[in-house]
């Protein structure tokens, strides 16, 4: 590639990624040259600033045309912008948590690494949002995953952290092998890694043998990616990993990593299998054919997540199951395959991001102070720290999907799609609502602890600045989007024509 061709490439659309990449490089260098005794927190703040810069730049791109470079290995469409924004917001909030994280068990020595590995993982997620190529997607996925493995195990003197990282890496590698195996068949039937080309090739698929193979590949990809979004059957790692990982990392895994997981799921399934014909051109695509399989996965995910969460005594494990359950709700939205699916998923992820990160902020404060992650540590929180307790209460209400909060609007949106779709997924919706009721059980158990039970220890809390920021954003956002969801909807509708851009 000559310099001309190189310079003709519109690299500017990668600016957000470059910002993050550059900051990672800067942080690595700063870490090397800073005296050992100096506090590394400043690095975290730099990271946050960079994330905000990337966020602003990404937002500024909203409303623009679809742009892609290098055979679609990197593309900016509305989908990419919308979900990249989510990842950036999530990443920024996680960084806020991270700078307030009092390092222990080995993290104290690797604080700088902690920050820039988080940024790297986020970078992987960003890359995933704007790639139109299997290879890029895969690399983004692995960039995210591998850094996450490291982050999960970064409390290297803490056996639970080691164990969690080990479990994560083993399950993650198996999943990525399965995904790749599926991708290899997709490649085999199309000879290209470009998603849109794949879609074009597959639209004319008529050979039933090939359809069969492709469908098997579909299942492999779905199950493999289920790992990332912690959906049944690839969900079991989540509780253990969430429990053992440092709390900001758990928050990252449950939010940013999951958003990225949905990004790749939507990207691959919709482009590749949303066009792959089952009986020649014009016949219903494989994705529609396999809707029931997705529905089964969604139903099982919701049931497992919510039902097993009831039994938990550890708050982080409980939130792991809760995040499994929420993944289930999101898959319901995906399964409906209506045009409002994007809006539904995006909004639900936004709501989930706010409420889950807010909850983890509280969890981080409590568990660090108590030195234990038992739910019982929340006892009497209302007495000890009313602000934390009330915030947590609002976030839990949002998680449980009560009106007035973003969680409710998100659920409404999902239901709307589910019922509008023909044929409507009544059973799936019923499972969703029934398991939501089951979820009251465990969300309100935390409430019970916070508000009804006496505290064992009456000492007060000091709330670090970062936590405070996350809490304010989370609570205000949850309530705002619960009452005025149009802020989000209008943004999406006026600036981002996801559906129109997606296949361009």
């Amino acid at each position: 590639m000559s310099y001309e061709t190189f310079s003709q490439i519109n690299w500017s659309i990668m600016t957000p990624e470059f910002i993050i990449l550059g900051v990672i490089a800067i942080l690595i260098l700063m870490d090397l040259f800073m005296p050992k005794t100096l506090d590394r927190k400043i690095l975290g703040w730099i990271g946050i600033t960079a994330t905000f810069a990337a966020m602003v730049y990404t937002a500024a791109m909203a409303g623009g045309p679809v742009q892609s470079i290098l055979h679609d290995t990197f593309r900016i469409d509305s989908f990419a912008i919308a979900f990249k924004l989510l990842i950036l917001v999530g990443g920024a909030l996680v960084l806020f948590l991270a700078v307030s994280y009092e390092p222990k068990d080995g993290v104290e020595r690797y604080q700088a690494e902690f920050y820039y590995l988080l940024l790297t993982a986020m970078l992987g997620g960003m890359l995933m949002t704007s790639s139109g190529d299997l290879v890029t997607l895969y690399i983004g996925l692995e960039l995210l995953s591998i850094t996450s493995y490291i982050l999960a195990g970064i409390r290297k003197f803490h056996p639970q952290s080691n164990e969690s990282a080990m479990k994560y890496v083993i399950n993650g590698s198996i999943s990525s092998a399965i995904v790749l195996f599926g991708m290899s068949y997709v490649y085999g039937l199309t000879g290209t890694t470009n998603l849109l080309n794949i879609a074009n090739e597959l639209a004319a698929l008529a050979n039933s043998n090939h359809v069969y193979l492709l469908t098997i590949a579909f299942l492999m990809i779905v199950i493999g990616l289920a790992f990332k979004i912690s959906a049944v059957p690839f969900h079991m790692w989540a509780p253990d990993v969430y429990q053992g990982a440092p709390t900001p990392v758990t928050a990252f895994l449950s939010v940013v990593s999951k958003i990225a997981g949905f990004v790749i799921v939507i990207r691959i399934l919709l482009t590749v299998f949303g066009f792959a014909a089952t009986k020649g051109p014009g016949s219903p695509p494989i994705l529609y054919d396999m809707q029931n399989y997705l529905a089964v996965i969604a139903g099982a995910t919701m049931i497992v997540g919510n039902v097993v969460a009831i039994k938990q005594t550890d708050i982080k494990r409980m939130f792991a199951y809760s995040s499994i359950a929420h993944a289930g709700y999101l898959i319901v939205a995906f399964t409906s395959l209506t045009t409002n699916m994007f809006q539904a998923i995006w909004f639900y992820l936004l709501a989930y991001l706010l409420m889950n990160l807010g909850a983890f902020a509280v969890i981080q404060v409590i568990t660090e102070k108590a030195g234990s992650t038992k739910i019982a540590e929340f006892a009497g929180l209302y007495r000890r720290a009313p602000v934390l307790a009330v915030s947590m209460g609002i976030l839990l209400i949002s998680l449980a999907g009560f009106p007035g909060t973003a969680g409710f609007i998100g659920k409404l949106n999902i239901f709307l799609g589910t019922f509008y779709a023909e044929p409507s997924h009544y059973v799936l919706a019923s499972i969703m609502i029934a398991t939501t009721v089951v979820s009251y059980f465990y969300y309100f158990r935390v409430m019970t602890q916070m508000f009804f039970r006496p505290a064992a220890d009456e000492s007060k809390f000091s709330i670090p600045f970062g936590i405070l920021v996350v809490l304010i954003v989370a609570v205000a956002g949850s309530v705002l989007f619960g009452i005025m969801p149009n802020f989000a909807f209008d943004f999406l509708q006026n600036n981002l024509d996801i559906l129109g851009d997606f296949f361009k």
């Binding site: 990525s176 790749l180 195996f181 039937l189 039994k311």
Partner: protein
Amino acid sequence: MSQVPASAFLALALILFCIGLYGALTKRNTVIVLISIELMLNAVNINLVTFSKYGLYPSINGQVFALFAMAVAAAEAAVGLAILMALYRNKKTVHIDEMNEMKN
């Protein structure tokens, strides 16, 4: 040109993938588990390379993809081993079934 059908290569890949999977899910030594996963990834690579030559639309992309996969696999293995070492320092075991501090 060649008498070896594509399906033979694919079948080989499938068999190796299954062996790797079985190993990864049953072996007790974590090192072997990690190696088994490498075997799975190798099987994938065979697939990719096969399709690169014998696919519906042969192209070089398969080989490139395989190279990417290898690079990633190496990184994965490295990280896996590093984590295993950290774990070994704390727990003095590489037996995967003894990593059950967190459950239920």
